[in-house]
Amino acid sequence: MIQTDKLDTNSAQRMLVIGGLLLIIAGMIFGDIFAVFILHPNAEEIGNALYDAAEAVSVQEPESVSVHFMDIGDRLENRGTKVDTHVHAIKLGYLALLLALVQPFIALDILSRRRLAQLFLTGAVVMPPSIFLIHYVGLAYSPFKTIGWASIFADLGGLLVIIACIGELAGLCIYLRNGMGHDQEPTSDWATVNTCQESRLLLTGGTMMLLAGFLFGAWYAAVELKGHESMEVETLHSIVEKAAGNDMESVEKSLGGYGLLQAERAVTIAAHAHINEFGILAILLAFVQPYVFLRPQWRRRWIIAMLTGSIVLPVSVYLELKFGLIAGAVADIGGLLVIVALFGMLAGVVRHTGRLDAAAEEKIT
């Protein structure tokens, strides 16, 4: 039985579902653009700057070294803030969907729940763009020595999100203490997941992706991580030693090794992170399926697209070490597939809310 009153006009649940899906889509589009246009050129520029710094060591120019490292720092900040923007937008989208899920069990009045949803979404909308702007705003006009205005706004956005989550937790605790939700019986509308084949497919697929991601992460932490960390410092020692000895040919070889090491770390962590994140996304989307008002075959197509993209992206990212930019391009296509699937599901949710609103209007007239 589908409880069609769950995404009522202006309900907290509707705001959180639609807001959450939009945040995830925005974060993923940003991530795809970053991966296609910024990631690899940025890595190459960092490599070149490191070579220039090593060259400055060989000709004994410490001031030049500092200049090149400021350049490296600037490019790392550029990369880091963009990755952070991508990650935070998506994670906040996930959190929004989760909070939508538990709304039937938040024992607060409708207005309070709506306010909490608005507070959450305000923080979620402020935070990622503020993180993005950290690189461009810097410390301009900042009252602090190390934190700029963009950071301040990002932290403020985060604080609003935390306060909203604490409010939701308080509502949940009241429900558990009193045993009742808000105006209606807190029946498990999660039972709709049980009756919906598409939902079960997403739920099972998502959990399997999480398991695979955790096993992969555990393997990396147990077998590779320490080696990578000690190798990084050893390689840096080798670079400065050879540069000081004016052996630029060996420096170039060592820098190549350093670059490969960083690439290996980056693709392994990216593969681990992405398969886990897509696993979480699949599980969350399982609960959204009852509200996707599309024909069954289209619901299935979007699900297959989503699951396909979710597996193609992390596997292709990991294979970038072997197959280079071709694997990178395939990974970007995988990401695009997931974005398109999310748009399809969002369209279904908007259609469902439109149907609810039209039915409500008819009742009034």
Partner: protein
């Protein structure tokens, strides 16, 4: 909501809040200083090499390695607490679909919640002197989460097999 679901959802929400709180504290009081420390030590190491002070250069670069070691684990704790918290909430919502008796589901929930709490804590403790405790929490927590997830997958697949 049964006991296992309550445990997963409240535990998950609590972990997400802890992760976000830690992230806020880290962003306000530690992150910028850590990133600056990494940049300064690496640049200084190279500068010292340019001044023909090779032993000092290597010591400084080793210090860069230590700061990076700390940075990676601090960010890891923040992101994993939140991610695992979200996994717990999502699984909690669908936990009735896991085809095991209620008691077994409760034990799975305990494994998942404790693993999700302890694993990032263990990783964070690697930056302190409590290395044995860090190892116990990190390894034990990982195994608990993996075991719990494997049990959930099995429980979800059981109706399909029968």
């Amino acid at each position: 909501m049964n006991g296992a679901q309550k445990l997963l959802i409240i535990g998950g929400l609590a972990l997400a809040i802890i992760g976000m709180g830690y992230g806020l504290y880290y962003a306000l009081f530690d992150e910028h200083q850590t990133l600056e420390g990494m940049g300064v030590t690496m640049a200084t190491g190279f500068s010292m090499a340019a001044e023909e002070k090779l032993p000092e250069a290597k010591t400084t670069l080793a210090r860069y390695g230590n700061i990076r070691f700390e940075y990676v684990r601090e960010v890891h704790a923040h992101s994993h607490w939140i991610s695992l918290g979200m996994v717990l909430i999502a699984l909690g919502a669908a936990f009735n679909l896991v085809c095991f008796p209620e008691r077994v589901r409760f034990y799975i929930a305990v494994a998942l919640v404790s693993g999700a709490a302890l694993f990032p804590l263990g990783v964070l403790l690697q930056t302190t002197d409590a290395t044995i405790l860090a190892q116990v929490f990190a390894v034990g927590g990982t195994m608990a989460v993996i075991g719990g997830l494997a049990a959930v997958v099995w429980g979800l697949l059981l109706p399909a097999r029968h």
